[in-house]
């Protein structure tokens, strides 16, 4: 018996650790119901962020939601975060169980 899954969008945001609280408050206001965060380090257009001290930490935030909401979130990030923060966002479709959770 094949399991039942539905498709949702997984939005991943890699950004500076310092914005965590601000970003989570924004996500909350935009109706996000769940997210997962891991500590990260990395490199990109804003240079090396090797997590060697507070100002150089990254976080990696994952949000599973409907496609429309993911686009909403991205629109918001583009407006409020893209210009001034080290940030990379990407998305792809995933199959979820218990679709009512997302």
């Amino acid at each position: 018996m094949p399991i039942h899954t539905e498709t949702r969008t997984l939005l991943t945001i890699v950004t500076e650790g310092v914005v965590e609280n601000l970003l989570l408050a924004d996500l909350d206001r935009l109706g996000v119901r769940g997210y997962t965060i891991t500590n990260a380090r990395g490199s990109g257009a804003h240079g090396l962020r090797d997590a060697n001290w507070d100002a150089a930490t990254n976080i990696r935030v994952e949000i599973i939601c409907a496609r429309a909401q993911a686009e909403n979130l991205i629109e918001f990030l583009r407006e409020h975060y893209f210009a001034n923060y080290a940030m990379v966002t990407f998305l792809h479709e995933v199959e979820v169980l218990r679709p009512e959770k997302f």
């Binding site: 500076e16 310092v18 914005v19 601000l22 997590a51 060697n52 001290w53 507070d54 100002a55 210009a83 001034n84 923060y85």
Partner: protein, 312 residues
Amino acid sequence: MQLDPVILFFLFGLAAGLLRSELKLPAALYDSLSIVLLLAIGLKGGEGLAQQALLPLLPQIGAVIVLCLIQTLLAFAILRGPGRFERADAAATAAHYGSVSVATFAVAVAWLAARGIAFEPQMAILLAIMEVPAILLGIILARGIRRETDWGKLGHEAFLGKGVTLLLGGMLIGWIAGPEGLAPIKGVFFDLFKGVLALFLLEMGLIVSRQMVELKRSGPFLIAFGLGMPLCSALLGLGVGTLLGFSTGGLTLLATLAASASYIAVPAAMRLAVPEAKPAISLAASLGVTFPFNILAGIPLYHWLASTVNRG
């Protein structure tokens, strides 16, 4: 002159970083050391306050707030005028210099202790107070007084940041417990103070070494600012301290506080409130120039000035 071993730890970290050694301190260790240092400074201050009247502190608090605001404005004027920095960068960097560095304060305290020079216990309170005003003024300088700025939230963050919380909490505990109450926890917070500071400065050396790259890019103006600004601020601090009738030790510490520039609380606050400011600039100046200058040359200099003033 004999170099204090804690300074040697700083230089060692700096050298290790510049030589690209693989030496790293675990982030949790650095964090833990800073918590112990902040609590120890607070406890020590509170213990002293327990033995004196608190009312005379109010004018002192007012005076150092004014001192911080003047420093911030001065720094902003220099960075905007001769420095030709963008408004946001100038405001954010000015806020760093109008605020204080706990590590610098700790080195100065150790420097005075090694020479048996006493100072007023309320310096820990002034340290906590002086962290905050420049943050708020820096934001105003960057963006004007706008409707949409959430000052409540900003104030909350400024006053309940980790540093201020630990300093004030430690002070309150020290004040309530008093010397005998603190005796059983002396082991961790007082006897180990200098060893903890040494390890902390080792990591500071590593962090500072990473600013050197940025410093090369920023050029001579930022270096000159990083050296000149603390000197101006120290003189302002000496002036205020003299008006307040501080002892030589207290004068030295107030000059050091004024001369010091924040590299923890202010960068984090500015990153959120003035995101268009480039943090690399402020940190290169505050960490790459001013911090080493203060702990290597500034503190003895400020003490010499303080003794001259107090003799005069």
